[in-house]
């Protein structure tokens, strides 16, 4: 009710057509309105938080990186060689990288970050991504060899993904993780000048940065959780750029002088996570539920048509995306499948569905639309709204309902990090526990040959859709509004990096 009232109020106020007036601001500073803070303080190895990656990447470097089209590229690591059996990975590091405190980065820092910290008992989320690491050898200051317990073909990808940021061994050991999180030292293009949790991050250019020097001297990140306040912030000129504002606000704001707005498709899949039991035991019901969803209409209604409808859990341009495969929207077929199992509009199949409200744009409204589409073919869904914390709780306890609307983020685009997590029966994260598909998923984790691995995931993506193990809906969209005077580089995964900003 509160949210509706707020939206209504701002809609009314927007109708007055007040222009955005640029405030006098230092041209060497950009102020961003960001919806969330860094989770786990400024220790970048502590938490996996997709929305914090843009912030962390300004202060820390990852061993590997991705270019705007998301291709894996060298960074601190200049060359890498995966063994044919994917049981070891040889890495070569740059020799000219210094931490913000002046210490030189060496392979010892890399080994400490991904192995030493875990051995020292630091509680880090990277313990999970580095689970297969048996040892890290450092034959020279610029080389390291990672040895794995099991084949780990996606390790190079993981070195550019969540939590994989190199921290300085000497400084961390000297001050401890607690103090580090308060006064972090990275090698990134910006240094942390000031931080107030849930409020403000002030970054200053690292003039000794080894890579291209950022054009702007200072980046100020205002943590503004309320979307209405972010809208007001950009309209008033107090912000230079903001993201995750309501889709309809983008259209309004971009019409104001001095502002521009974008709907950028990103590597986040909006999908229905499904169970293989209870009301979804019957494959016909699952497939009918999938065929009954008009994804194009959802995209048009909630993302202005910018979100690409998906048939498999992978986004366009990523290796797992099936260009020549479409899971059709066919309500007639849905009704026929349901009829085969004895269901109809008058005698509907009954399931439960969960959704969050406000976790990603239009989630609740989209869930209601899906429920309405299902009703037309003979599926009656009882919709429950849950908090994101409740989602994780239910997921871990294998208590999610038959269908759950969720936005799954995978900045790398690697197919393993989509289907390998969404359909892995060994992880509590997956509500799909069918052993037949599960065995195939687990087997693909051990495929070392890249071409074979990608082909395997592509086949599995298709099989998962055709058996009703997953119901991918749309490629998610990042909404962005900025001053026309601020330029930035657009990344396919939604990263907004201060080091790419320029004025003019």
């Amino acid at each position: 009710m509160t949210a509706l009232s707020r939206r209504g109020l701002f809609g009314l106020l927007a109708a007055t057509g007040l222009p955005a007036i640029a405030q006098a601001q230092d041209a060497d500073t950009a102020t961003i309105g960001w919806p969330s803070d860094v989770a786990g303080g400024w220790d970048p190895n502590v938490r996996f938080a997709p929305d914090a990656q843009s912030l962390l990447k300004m202060v820390f470097d990852q061993p590997m990186d991705q270019d705007p089209s998301l291709k894996l590229i060298p960074h601190i690591v200049t060359a890498w060689k995966m063994a044919p059996d994917a049981l070891s990975l040889e890495l070569t590091f740059r020799d000219d990288v210094r931490f913000h405190n002046g210490d030189k980065l060496t392979s010892a820092d890399f080994a400490y970050t991904f192995m030493g910290r875990l051995k020292a008992g630091h509680k880090l989320d990277i313990a999970n991504s580095m689970r297969s690491v048996a040892d890290i050898e450092t034959p020279s200051p610029t080389t390291a060899i990672m040895r794995f317990k099991t084949p780990s073909p996606t390790m190079p990808v993981w070195l550019a993904f969540l939590g994989s940021y190199i921290v300085p061994k000497a400084y961390m050991e000297q001050v401890g993780p607690e103090a580090f999180a308060q006064k972090p030292v990275g090698t990134g293009p910006y240094k942390l000048l000031e931080y107030q949790m849930n409020a403000r991050i002030v970054l200053e250019r690292n003039d000794a940065y080894w890579g291209p020097k950022p054009k702007l001297k200072r980046i100020v990140v205002e943590i503004i959780k309320d979307p209405s306040a972010r809208v007001a912030g950009i309209q008033s000129g107090q912000l230079d750029l903001t993201v995750n504002v309501p889709v309809r606000e983008v259209a309004r704001l971009k019409a104001l002088p001095g502002l521009t707005g974008e709907l950028n498709p990103i590597q986040r899949v909006v999908l229905l996570q499904v169970r293989n039991d209870e009301g979804f035991t019957d494959r016909n019901v699952r497939l009918a539920a999938h065929h009954a969803i008009d994804k194009k209409a959802l995209s048009q209604a909630f993302y202005g048509g910018a979100a690409v409808p998906l048939s498999a859990p992978a986004t366009p341009g990523t290796p797992g995306f099936l260009e020549d495969y479409t899971f059709t929207y066919d309500p007639k077929l849905a009704a026929e499948l349901l009829a085969k199992s004895g269901y109809s509009v008058d005698k509907p199949a009954k399931i439960r569905m969960a959704t969050t409200n406000g976790t990603f744009p239009s989630d609740f409204d989209m869930a209601r639309a899906i429920v309405a589409m299902w009703k037309k073919v003979g599926i009656e869904a009882e919709l429950e709204v849950i908090e994101i914390s409740k989602y994780f709780e239910l997921n871990r306890g294998n208590k999610l309902p038959e269908a759950t609307l969720y936005g799954f983020d995978n900045a790398t685009g690697d197919p393993e990090i989509y289907a390998g997590y969404l359909l892995n029966p060994k992880l509590p994260f997956s509500p799909w526990k069918d052993p037949v598909l599960g065995e195939k998923v687990l087997a693909l984790f051990n495929v070392a040959d890249e071409a074979q691995r990608i082909a395997g995931w592509r086949a599995l993506n298709k099989e998962a859709a055709e058996t009703g193990a997953t119901m991918p809906l749309l490629q998610s969209v990042q909404t962005l509004v900025r001053k026309q005077s601020l330029n930035f580089t657009k990344y396919g995964n939604g990263w907004i990096l201060g080091q790419t900003f320029s004025r003019g």
Partner: protein, 334 residues
């Protein structure tokens, strides 16, 4: 007087214990699993189970409570599940901001309330009285989040007169001393920061405080009307004292007692009501911390913030009690 006050405050400890027990039990009865919440999505069941044991969540509830309250007594409020930092550090970072906001809001509510009360009293039996009463009703009826958004639109977006996010302008560094930004800036002589912090405080404090002014106005007005029927007011007039002198030195002092009690109660409510305002204004206080904690089922933070609210309310009660004794001669005489 001090003995009386101390006697009254002796109840604070049992109240605190009862609240802590209720808080702890209620949170443990919620269907959330803090261990699972603390792990990343690709953690295995065994890893989640290990985290549960490490956090002591496998122990009986009374044992968990005894451990927690023992740690609290030693100043250890635990560790945040989500942020993974000591809760005491998080509270130390955010509590001063919320206190600063609540005090500023109370000052606004008090100033508006007292001046408005006097105006209402002056307008009694006047043709303008119904109009003034309607205005106070309107002030009370509009919820604080709506005031917040209206202020943002009017003073932030339309007039661009006041900032409405955070506590400082982008170009100004935060003076760090106690966490009370206005005090820190003034103490360190950073007047640019002081001015910026003050401007940033205006809109959230006004949005939070404005709804609390009308009850103060009405109580003060009603008290003054009652007091003006007392014999000593008539005698003061007979002694030839001016109306201003009667109001300021006789009536207002007595009418201030119920008003003070009301403001004490209001301050506790206002302190707790800062949650939504802090989120809307991106104000880095305890309310914002609490909203995040609830969203992430971060039980150690929720417990600590709940307990802090309780301590703040008890402290305010104690202060109001003390002020009451100072102002009220009858209580001083006991």
């Amino acid at each position: 007087m001090i003995a009386t006050l101390l006697k009254r405050q002796a109840t604070a400890l049992p109240i605190l214990l009862i609240v802590s027990a209720l808080l702890f039990t209620a949170l443990r009865l919620l269907p959330v699993d803090p261990a699972a919440m603390s792990m990343p999505p690709n953690a295995t069941k065994a890893e989640v189970e290990a985290a549960r044991v490490a956090m002591g969540l496998d122990r009986p509830l009374p044992e968990q409570y005894a451990i927690w309250i023992g740690q609290v007594a030693h100043g250890d409020l635990g560790r945040s599940i989500h942020v993974r930092r000591p809760v005491s550090t998080l509270l130390a970072d955010t509590l001063p901001a919320t206190i600063e906001l609540a005090v500023a809001a109370m000052l606004i509510a008090g100033s508006l309330g007292l001046s408005g009360g006097l105006i209402l009293f002056a307008l009694r039996d006047n043709k303008a009285e119904p109009l003034a009463e309607t205005a106070t009703t309107l002030m009370m009826s509009v919820p604080e989040f709506l005031w917040a958004l209206l202020f943002i639109f009017v003073f932030g977006v339309a007039l661009q007169a006041l900032p409405f996010t955070g506590r400082l302008d982008p170009g100004i560094s935060r003076p760090v001393l106690t966490g009370f930004l206005l005090f820190d800036a003034a103490w360190l002589g950073q007047w640019k920061a002081f001015a910026s912090a003050l401007l940033h405080l205006v809109l959230p404090a006004a949005a939070l405080g404005i709804a609390f002014a009308p009850p103060i106005m009405r109580v003060l007005r009603a008290s003054l009307i009652d007091i003006y029927h007392e014999d000593y007011i008539r005698q003061a007039r007979l002694r030839g004292l001016s109306e201003t002198r009667i109001l300021l030195f006789h009536a207002l002092q007595n009418a201030g007692l119920p008003t003070l009690t009301l403001m004490g109660v209001q301050f506790g409510i206002l302190f707790g009501g800062s949650l939504l305002i802090e989120v809307i204004y991106a104000y880095p206080g305890m309310g914002n911390l609490m909203v995040d904690a609830v969203r992430n089922a971060d039980l150690p933070i929720i417990q600590a913030v709940g307990l802090t609210y309780c301590i703040v309310v008890l402290t305010i009660n104690a202060v109001v009690d003390a002020l009451y004794h100072v102002i009220n001669p009858r209580l001083r005489a006991r």
